[in-house]
């Protein structure tokens, strides 16, 4: 019911079974830089839109639907994937998530203009 995005160099087949198997750690410098760029400034912990982000086993696990869609997480993961070519997965639901799927969830420029 709640969804999290796990980004890292992980085994896709295992991810489809709901299993996290890390093949290699993310580039720490890239991950740290991007986390620092997207994290909430008001919190001592690393959070995206007030939802905690987990760093473990060389992967990053971000809130996706909790149940509000977390647009900051989506932007962060897309940026991370663009730089590291990592895999994005919803481990608990056994799905590989493509960058295109995520990008489609971001409001379009026209939508934002209409919303204003």
């Amino acid at each position: 019911m709640l969804h999290f995005l796990t980004a890292g160099h992980i085994d896709e087949a295992a991810a489809r079974r709901g299993e996290l198997r890390v093949l290699a750690s993310l580039d720490n410098g890239v991950a740290t830089r991007l986390l620092d760029q997207y994290r909430d400034r008001s919190s001592g912990e690393i959070t995206f839109a007030q939802r905690p982000v987990e760093l473990r086993d060389g992967c990053v696990r971000c809130p996706w639907y909790t149940p509000q869609v977390n647009l900051v997480s989506i932007k962060f993961v897309l940026a991370l994937q663009a730089e590291t070519r990592c895999v994005i997965a919803d481990i608990e639901h056994g799905r590989i998530v493509t960058p295109a799927e995520l990008a489609a969830l971001l409001p379009k420029v026209g939508d934002r203009a209409r919303a204003k």
């Binding site: 709640l2 079974r17 149940p67 509000q68 608990e92 639901h93 056994g94």
Partner: protein, 404 residues
């Protein structure tokens, strides 16, 4: 204070109604007599008298007179000797005791009695609706009564039923019965007590082969048709039907009683208590049993209950996604179901049983290929027989979180 009595022209049959006395402070008796003759209420010049003429026919008496054939209206009442004779005697007495042609319906319509001879149910000039007049002129008197007294219904019915074949009594009884069934009987039967009552009555009637008059459906029969099934000898088919109803009822109740009994208040579906701290292993095991039973009851195949990577059981004590699924493998509910969700008031106020059904429906939609966004749309209308409150919870989720 003067006592007022009816004048000498008052028909004898009505004089008996004039026992009540009317009083005034200073009006003379001639004024009161005049008031009686005009059959009106008047105030005297000097006093505050308001007096209804007791000799005047009431609207109901007038309506009863109108229900008789024209040549039989306003006849003097039969003498005591004649009225004591049997109705089957002479033709003269039978003409005086001719049965009424119609009776007054709940909306003022004239419903034909069993003795109706097929004539007009009221003078045509009494109709003021054009369609009613037209129907009466073509001899469709029951349809004319409908058009006169049921404005909207007349169009809906008489455009589908030949006005010549329309049965007014059947229609009037039908809508009365439907109202009682919809407003009283069905809601009563839908309650646990009402359902158990029906099972008990069916059992008794199947055993005795005799109607008890205790079925809830007797409410409409008694009020509309003035009859119940009390004392009715059941046919073999009816008795078998009662027996079948009883058997299904008892079996359903038996299955309900066999469900695992909740032992820990904080974790059991059905009691609605939500744990806000980790629950014990024993409680988790009981919650797992309850969730597995619930998934089975909702129609989730046994092989799809649980995800091997997460313990393979209906309840995953270690998760924090509330529920999970792996397509082609299974679904589960995890410990997040016991926790509040920040900003979602409906979820936080929902009992565990309602939450669990909602999670199962959502995960089942994703299990069958829907994305999360699609599951938000699909789950409120799931074909799984989840609780109505859970559908409402899923609708609230769609409303709150359906758009980025």
């Amino acid at each position: 204070m003067d006592k007022v009595t009816p004048d000498n022209n008052t028909p004898a049959s009505w004089a008996g109604n004039a026992g009540a006395s009317c009083s005034a402070d200073s009006a003379d008796q001639s004024e009161f007599a005049n008031a009686f003759n005009q059959e009106a209420q008047k105030s005297s010049d000097a006093g505050q008298l308001v007096c209804t003429d007791p000799t005047a026919p009431t609207p109901r008496e007038e309506a009863m007179q109108q229900s008789l054939p024209e040549n039989e209206r306003y006849l003097p009442p039969p003498s005591p000797q004649k009225s004591s004779k049997p109705a089957t005697s002479s033709s003269a007495s039978s003409s005086q005791t001719a049965p009424p042609q119609w009776e007054l319906g709940p909306r003022g319509e004239h419903i034909p009695t069993n003795d109706w001879t097929g004539g007009p149910l009221r003078p045509i000039q009494d109709y003021d609706k054009p369609w009613a007049i037209a129907l009466a002129k073509q001899g469709d008197y029951e349809a004319a009564e409908l058009a006169q007294n049921y404005l909207c219904a007349s169009c809906h019915i008489l455009t589908k039923v030949d006005p010549h074949d329309f049965n007014l009594r059947g229609y009037v009884k039908g809508w009365q019965r439907n109202y009682i069934q919809g407003m009283v009987e069905v809601p009563l039967k839908a309650t646990p007590i009402g359902a158990a009552w029906e099972v008990g009555v069916s059992t008794g009637q199947a055993i005795t082969g005799e109607g008890s008059g205790l079925h809830i459906s007797n409410i409409s029969s008694a009020l509309v048709d003035d009859q119940t099934d009390l004392g009715k000898k059941l046919t073999t088919g009816e008795r078998l039907w009662e027996g079948g109803t009883a058997a299904v009822g008892w079996a359903t109740m038996g299955l309900g009683l066999r469900a695992p009994a909740p032992a820990v208040r904080g974790a059991m579906i059905g009691e609605g208590y939500i744990a806000t701290r980790p629950i014990s292993a024993g409680s988790a095991a009981r919650l797992n049993g309850a969730l597995a039973n619930r998934m089975q009851a909702l129609g989730i195949p046994e092989e799809n209950i649980g995800i091997p990577q997460y313990g393979g059981q209906a309840y995953h004590a270690g998760g924090n996604t509330v529920g999970g699924n792996i397509q082609g493998v299974g679904i589960n509910v995890d410990s997040g179901v016991l926790q509040p969700i920040e900003g979602w008031e409906a979820w936080n106020n929902a009992p565990l049983s309602v939450r669990a059904d909602a999670v199962i429906a959502h995960e089942w939609a994703e299990f069958n290929g829907a994305t999360h966004a699609e599951a938000l749309q699909l789950a409120p209308n799931t074909s799984l027989p989840i609780r109505p409150e859970s559908r409402a919870l899923l609708l609230d989720m769609l409303r709150l979180y359906g758009q980025p």
